[in-house]
């Protein structure tokens, strides 16, 4: 039981937060080099604790799912560790778990990521396994079938979680007509249609060295990491085909209100609309504006909806910057009878952000929090590895954190006002309501 909800909104939020800032210009975060086949290798030495975190990010996310194959990237990620040219899935599990390590793979909207955590003494075994699953996955027929039924069951079960149901419906409204509007995991029906051939073809087309980023972080030296990665990934051949393209979502987000009936004592509300990513200069003021509105426990929504009115345990706003588009969302859970009141409060607070400038103290708090909390977000090898691949993936550069910090520090009340007036107009949001309906 915690005082506040630990928000687990997925990797996007991690990225949004991580990219928020960095306190002081220090030594570069990592060594970076491009291998001859196009792989970008990032190495950060953290010698104090004898563990190593490895991430292999490849651009094989759900955004590339064919229209009639929703869930294909997700299935591909799920089956990746289920057998290679050399080992079966259970053999892989046994090998890594015998040394107390973990090896996971999974796809999100934009990317497919393989993650390894191991003790330093087991790095060679760990990298052998990582390279096997990335370079020679077998995608055994029986394992594909297993995962299909598992994913279908997981989708079925997720229908009982109001947060998941609301997020899915909201994505559909905000990104209608774009792959981002379709659930990463697909639907039970779309997953039923997926075959091993689909998986093999998808992986062959989308996993390629020239869009792959590898981060090695922990008790390892740059030379050692380069040597071991080159030995395993150096001969991965770059294909001649051009990179696949993805269109940006059209700005036709729906402003509809959608109600999904569930027999629950509490109702989940989720407002959302399209927004902007890091590459837009207005991203920095937007990040600050979102923090002032609903980012922490000093935010306007937290103060008004939770602290002053006792209407919710959870009330938040956040920006989700994806590669091909972004969204801004506000969410709250309240007892069903109070839904109209909370809807009005959220709309009023959205409108107020665009109507009048934020107070100097609110602005200072948001800037100081975003800047000052940065070291806390990079305090383990795993978090550093996640950050490195994310920054590289978006082409932001290893100094991005420093630049971002400067940009956040420079955000003025007028900037926040201007951006809020543009992105926080209540009438531009779609709204999903999950719960009892009258």
């Amino acid at each position: 039981m915690a005082t506040r909800v630990a928000v687990a909104l997925g990797s996007v939020v991690v990225l949004a937060g991580l990219l928020a800032c960095r306190p002081t210009a220090a030594a570069p975060l990592a060594h970076r080099e491009v291998l001859p086949n196009g792989i970008v290798l990032l190495v950060a030495e953290r010698p104090a604790v004898p563990i190593v975190a490895v991430r292999v990010l490849t651009r094989a996310g759900a955004v590339y799912d064919p229209a009639d194959r929703a869930g294909l990237a997700s299935l591909t990620g799920a089956v990746l560790t289920r057998g290679t040219a050399k080992r079966t899935g259970p053999e892989i599990d046994s090998a890594i778990e015998f040394v107390g390590g973990s090896l996971e793979a999974g796809a999100g909207r934009d990317n497919l990521t393989v993650s390894l955590t191991a003790q330093k003494k087991d790095l060679i075994l760990g990298l052998d396994l990582v390279s096997e699953v990335v370079l020679s996955p077998a995608f055994p027929e029986a394992e594909v079938a297993r995962k299909v039924s598992e994913i279908q069951a997981a989708i079925k079960r997720s229908e009982e979680d109001p947060g998941t149901v609301a997020a899915r419906a909201l994505a559909r409204l905000v990104f209608q007509g774009h792959p981002y509007g379709i659930p990463v995991e697909g639907t039970r029906e779309s997953v039923a249609r997926l075959t091993r051939d689909d998986v093999v073809k998808f992986y062959r087309e989308h996993a390629r060295p020239d869009t792959t980023i590898i981060a090695v972080v922990g008790a390892v030296t740059v030379d050692e990491a380069r040597r071991e990665i080159m030995a395993r990934f150096g001969s991965w051949a770059r294909p001649a085909d051009p990179l696949p393209l993805v269109a940006a979502p059209t700005a036709s987000a729906s402003t509809k209100e959608e109600t999904i009936k569930r027999e629950l004592t509490q109702t989940t509300l989720m407002f959302g609309r399209q927004a902007i990513s890091h590459t837009d200069p207005d991203y920095f003021p937007l990040a600050v504006a979102s923090y002032v509105l609903g980012g922490g426990s000093a935010s306007r929504l937290y103060t008004r909806v939770r602290e002053e009115s006792g209407l919710a345990y959870a009330v938040y706003s956040w920006v989700s910057p994806w590669r091909h588009g972004a969204s801004f969302a506000v969410s709250a859970q309240t007892r069903t009878v109070e839904v109209p009141k909370v809807v009005v409060m959220i709309r009023e607070e959205l409108a107020r952000m665009g109507r009048e400038p934020v107070a100097e103290r609110e602005l200072a708090l948001a800037r100081q929090y975003l800047i000052g909390s940065f070291p806390l977000r990079l305090d383990t090898s795993g978090k550093v590895a996640d950050f490195l691949v994310a920054v590289e993936d978006r082409g932001l550069g290893l100094d991005y954190a420093d630049r971002y910090k400067e940009r956040i520090a420079r955000v003025t009340a007028a900037d926040v006002h201007r951006v809020a007036a543009k992105y926080f107009q209540p009438g531009t949001f779609g709204l999903v309501i999950v719960g009892e309906t009258k």
């Binding site: 604790v49 069951a153 940065f374």
Partner: protein, 435 residues
Amino acid sequence: MRIAILLLLTVSLLVPSGARANDRVVAATLDNGLRVLLLEDQRSPIVSFQVWYRVGSRNERQGATGIAHFLEHLMFKGTPSHGPKQFARLVEENGGQDNAFTSQDVTSYYVNIAADKLDLVIDLEADRMQNLLLDPKEITSEREVVIEERRTRTEDDPGGFLGEEVSSIAFKAHPYGAPIIGWMEDIKRITPEEIRAFYKMYYVPNNAIVVAVGAFRAADALEKIKRRFGRIPRSKVPPPVLAIEPAQNGERRVTVKKQAELPIVYLAWHVPNQQSDDAPALEVLSTILSGGRASRLYRDLVYQRQLALEAGGDYSYFSIDPNLFWFWATPMPGQTPEKLETELSAHMERLKTEPVTDEEMARAKNQLEAGFVYQEDSIHQRASLLARFELIGGWALKESFMAKIRAVTAADLTRVARAWFSAEKKTVGVLLPKS
């Protein structure tokens, strides 16, 4: 020769004592009884500062369940010198992250923040240990927040709902049977006076542990803590929890219906806690059953036979009083909870008759050991682990924990399985989706 020396140097540079730094823990007990544990970790300019109060739902009485957790919320509602909302504001504008949690045994508060803000955090935590406002207006409003939290975690969450039902019939004497968040009726009823009395009784220096890990000098930090916390007077020792759960004499069972997509099955057995010599074996047994995809329950029920979407087991080594060993499974569509109950029980029966393999034993021990090493990477985790061991008898027990785990044999597992997992000590919970 030169090469050899360089190699040695490299090795010692690569493997400094960071992960084995317990010998550098500075432990002190102030005159007022406050226990202080400090560990320098200079890797990043940050500190994790935590205050653990030895009070949780186990200290509650019937009719006032949830009061420890309710008070945890109110700890963010201000003192005369730091008004309502100021705590979170001060932490955030100094770039810190804070939160708290309540368990059956403890209530814990943490602030992770830049190391040069240590003075601020010490001041805030010492202040709210002694001077909490507990304004009735704030209590009225926060009560609604806690009720919403209960709706999220329990009323509208099938797993949380079933877990509460199972605990409540598994214990008939000990307060572990009541939910940490409290029964809805109690949350609605608890009065400001009761909360104040609870705060006065349990939030005293001689019932608390301060743990800090991070980029400070331990001697300085200790001085600062003494200066600020040292002024708080020692108080009466809070009353001990006297309830002892009587031995269970027959299977107990509960079935609930709820809006859900899939059923859930829980099995729970009364087992001993860390005070027992059987505890290390139970910890290993739990890992063999559910530590990862090579574990027994996953490999058999989820992977090989696809009877379950998820299956696992859980043991609370650190529990202050003897607690439950849980088994759980979510049947795949088309599978029944009865089938999963039978299969989970069969796994337990097998442990009684058939020794685990050497590979399973080695894997479980390696996983437990590696888990310790991974925790060393995070200052927050390092601090929490010290506190958890301190709560069960002393932070230094952390050192002997792995030795105890390593000493566990296959015969020990068979023995503890026979000793504790008998049919009459079992409680079964089943959640069925309302059709």
